[in-house]
């Protein structure tokens, strides 16, 4: 029957249908296009993107600080918190739309990674350095690019070693300031035998970098030169990889090959583990949830490597200003004010935050100077080293961290898939390809 319908009429029907469908679609979508955010209030607004701190009270403190800053400078400060792994995504979105925030947090990266979009803050750095006794030397490795400070290092998170003293006593051993990595291997074998192994993540998780890179540095197994160029100390790297494989075999179980950042916290808090390397979050978690285990936990200095070298790992936290920010002067004042009251932040963070400015090392430091088991962290700056050392925290060093080149290298040797030489050569190839 349909064949009797005139073609012209059918065609008109289709066109009408398409027109109406299009109109309906456009009508439905129109309100979304018509929306315009109201103009910002007359007062200036400073927008900050920030991670969620381990300690909820630190975020509360930071909100109070931001409010006080706003009142003092007659502006509004908006702080947007994002989860730690999501911070790079939020920054990428800001850079893409050239807006969104004015100040951003650089979590574990140097200013080299964002040098194209960062404002020169050398004046702020000099002002702070002058007023607070100067910066620790490592601060420059984080912030200075081609002679200019492009971010202001605010605090770093230490990675001390946490031991369960009860298990060490049980096997008739001690852990002292003189304990070396070789001692750890020997004692760890005894601890593993009584069912309390060591726990160093050898997996694709940030903590793995923060555990293994200091081991390499304490063996002088450098991957970079002083200028940040790739320069593998091959003999030392092969040696440390051999040591790593032996340490893994003698003192750990294969669960460390699949760990994420939370695993070592659970490992020590549950009473299973005898020794881990982690920020004091693991210690605090045990205090909160496993008081009987917590009683036996102690914070100790990192073991000593070759030639008496002791290296403590750390993750750096800095702040920079986008060069597309409309309130750059205000943002600079904000960075200054944040560092000016560094100790208040350290107190709110319950001791996580370690300062970069010498004036803040006066003992007793807040929180860690008053908790007997944490007192030794007051000297952590004496042996702390950051990613890329002995060079600065360059883009390549940051990429090495982000691509888990060091944990992969260790994992390949520990699992017997590659010889130390092969694993090292592959790591170098990957790094040079960046």
């Amino acid at each position: 029957m349909i064949e009797h319908t005139p073609r012209a009429k059918r065609g008109a029907g289709r066109r009408r249908f398409l027109r109406r469908s299009l109109a309906a679609g456009a009508l439905a979508a129109a309100p979304t296009f018509l929306v315009r955010r109201y103009a910002q209030a007359q007062e200036k607004t400073l927008k900050v993107v920030h991670w969620k701190h381990f300690v909820p009270d630190y975020d509360k403190y930071f909100d109070v600080f931001a409010k006080e800053f706003g009142e003092k400078h007659k502006c509004k400060v908006e702080v947007d918190y994002v989860a730690t792994p999501d911070l790079p995504t939020a920054i990428a979105a800001d850079i893409s739309r050239r807006g969104g925030h004015d100040v951003f947090m650089l979590n574990g990266t140097g200013s080299w990674l964002y040098d194209q979009i960062l404002v020169d803050v050398t004046d702020v750095a000099n002002r702070l350095g002058k007023e607070f006794g100067g910066w620790i030397p490592e601060a420059k490795d984080v912030a200075v690019v081609r002679g200019k400070w492009l971010c202001i290092p605010h605090w770093y998170m230490s990675f001390p070693w946490i031991i369960n003293r009860q298990y060490f006593t049980q096997v008739g051993e001690d852990f002292t300031d003189k304990t070396t990595w070789e001692d750890v291997r020997r004692i760890g074998a005894k601890l593993k035998a009584i069912g309390h192994p060591l726990g160093i993540p050898i997996s694709q998780t940030p903590d793995s970098n923060d555990n293994l890179v200091p081991v390499m540095l304490s063996y002088k197994a450098y991957m970079f030169d002083k200028n940040g160029g790739i320069a593998f100390a091959k003999k030392e790297i092969v040696e440390v990889l051999r040591f790593g494989a032996a340490l893994y075999k003698d003192t750990m179980t294969d669960e460390v090959l699949s760990w994420d950042d939370t695993s070592n916290n659970r490992f020590i808090a549950s009473g299973k583990g005898s020794m881990i390397c982690n920020p004091i979050s693991a210690y605090r978690t045990a205090a909160k949830d496993q008081p009987d285990v917590y009683k036996n936990l102690e914070i100790v200095k990192p073991p000593i490597g070759v030639q008496g070298i002791r290296v403590g790992g750390a993750r750096t936290m800095s702040y920079g200003i986008y060069n597309f920010s409309q309130v750059q002067d205000l943002a600079k004042e904000f960075l200054y004010a944040m560092n000016q009251e560094g100790l208040r932040g350290m107190e709110a963070s319950t001791g996580y935050n370690h300062p970069y400015l010498n004036a803040f090392f006066k003992k007793p430091m807040p929180v860690i100077g008053h908790e007997p088991k944490l007192e030794l962290l007051q000297d952590y700056q004496q042996y702390v080293k950051f990613i890329g050392w002995p060079g600065p925290m360059t883009k390549i060093a940051t990429t090495m961290y982000a691509k888990f080149i060091v944990p992969t290298m260790f994992a390949e040797v520990c699992t017997g898939r590659k010889t130390p030489r092969q694993a090292m050569d592959d790591a170098e190839k990957k790094l040079r390809a960046v």
Binding site: T5, R14, F17, A28, F54, T262, S281, K288, H370
Partner: protein
């Protein structure tokens, strides 16, 4: 009872037994994540970290010590030493300090407030009223109940309700926009013949294949240019970019399954194309439209990357982003509150599925049998 009656009963019983035995592994597999979510949300933190206890059920005592789960009350290092004055007696209930706006003190050291670290019962006072308490000293012990609703109480201290509201409003708006755009688009591509019909269909499908992790950067420019960033309009506008292609393709299948004769008869009787669509075709494919609506809702309800990058203020966040930001802090995962959020957050989706289950199944099986 005769032998044949027993035989009939046995055969029925055997059929039922076989059905349940066959279904049991599937049910165990499908429901285990929900069971795990629920049980974790009700466990005390001490039980969660107790590796010696049975992980599939609640434990009342510590696997290592055999003692009831407890928490020491330690004087914070930031306080100064002074005489203590207890505000509660042994056996009284305690409320965790972070689950109230202005939590009550359980004790005072001088004029310094001591708060309870956990929900529980004060079991022991180590430093009695009048004696001097020092920083880092254990002044008492709280018994921790297990199971507990403490993690659900914690949710009340977060903007959880607001995140849920944002997710629901966004989901509803996205469903509406998706259907308004996808129904005519699918119908046009399935039924109308015009040059490029097939190519347009494939192009629509291809847009769905591009992952949001690639698109979020150009989209953020788009959102910034429209000045809708940090509002839920940024999501309402961007989510249809993946729900419309997906639902268009889904609906094309449903429209193709409708016999052409039905439409031809309506056209012959003088109905226009729109009338045919509205009065004849849509009632027939209603189950498909509801299926598309459910998919559009769940896709937008669970989306993460756009919600993370387009919205930065805490109050405008969607549920998945809000939970992740607030309850995962570096390497410290708030497992209990995370699971409590997952339980509560899944309720709207469960209700939606329950209400439209018959339609949904009918939609999913359309065309399965000719």
């Amino acid at each position: 009872m005769t032998g044949s009656a027993w035989g009939v009963r046995w055969r029925r019983l055997r059929f039922l037994l076989a059905s349940y035995v066959g279904l049991a592994p599937f049910l165990a597999f499908a429901l285990f994540p929900f069971y795990w979510m629920l049980i974790t949300s009700l466990k005390a933190d001490a039980n969660l970290y107790d590796l010696r206890s049975n992980p599939f059920w609640f434990s009342r005592v510590d696997g290592a010590t055999g003692q009831p789960y407890h928490k020491d009350i330690i004087v914070p290092a930031s306080l100064t030493a002074g005489p203590i004055r207890w505000e509660i007696r042994t056996g009284a209930a305690t409320t965790r300090s972070d689950s109230a706006v202005n939590p009550p003190a359980i004790a005072w050291i001088g004029d310094q407030k001591v708060l309870s670290p956990v929900d529980g019962t004060l079991a022991e006072i180590r430093v009695p009223t009048g004696q001097v308490a020092h920083p880092n000293e254990v002044i008492g012990v709280i018994h921790v109940p297990n199971p507990t609703l403490t993690h659900y109480r914690y949710l009340a201290t977060t903007p959880f309700a607001r995140w849920m509201q944002v997710s629901l409003v966004t989901g509803a708006a996205v469903v509406l926009i998706t259907l308004v755009l996808a129904v005519p688009a699918a119908y046009g591509l399935a039924r109308l013949e015009f040059p490029g019909n097939r190519g347009i269909g494939i192009a629509i499908f291809l847009t769905y294949l591009i992952p949001p992790t690639i698109l979020f950067i150009p989209f953020s420019q788009f959102v910034g240019a429209l000045r809708v960033d940090n509002t839920i309009w940024s999501l309402i506008l961007s989510y249809p970019t993946f729900t419309v292609p997906f639902c268009t393709w889904l609906l094309m299948g449903f429209f193709r399954a409708v016999p052409k004769e039905l439409e031809e008869r309506a056209l012959l009787d003088g109905a226009t194309r729109l009338q045919t669509l509205r009065m004849v075709v849509i009632p027939v494919v209603m189950s498909g439209i509801l299926t598309a609506a459910i998919f559009a809702f769940t896709l937008s309800f669970q989306e993460y990357v756009y919600a993370l990058t387009f919205i930065s203020s805490t109050v405008n966040r969607t549920l998945p982003v809000g939970i992740t930001v607030d309850m995962v802090r570096g390497d410290v995962y708030f497992w209990g509150p995370l699971m409590a959020s997952a339980v509560v957050g899944s309720v709207p989706v469960v209700i939606l599925y329950a209400l439209s289950l018959d339609w949904f199944i009918s939609g999913m099986t359309t065309g399965a049998v000719k």
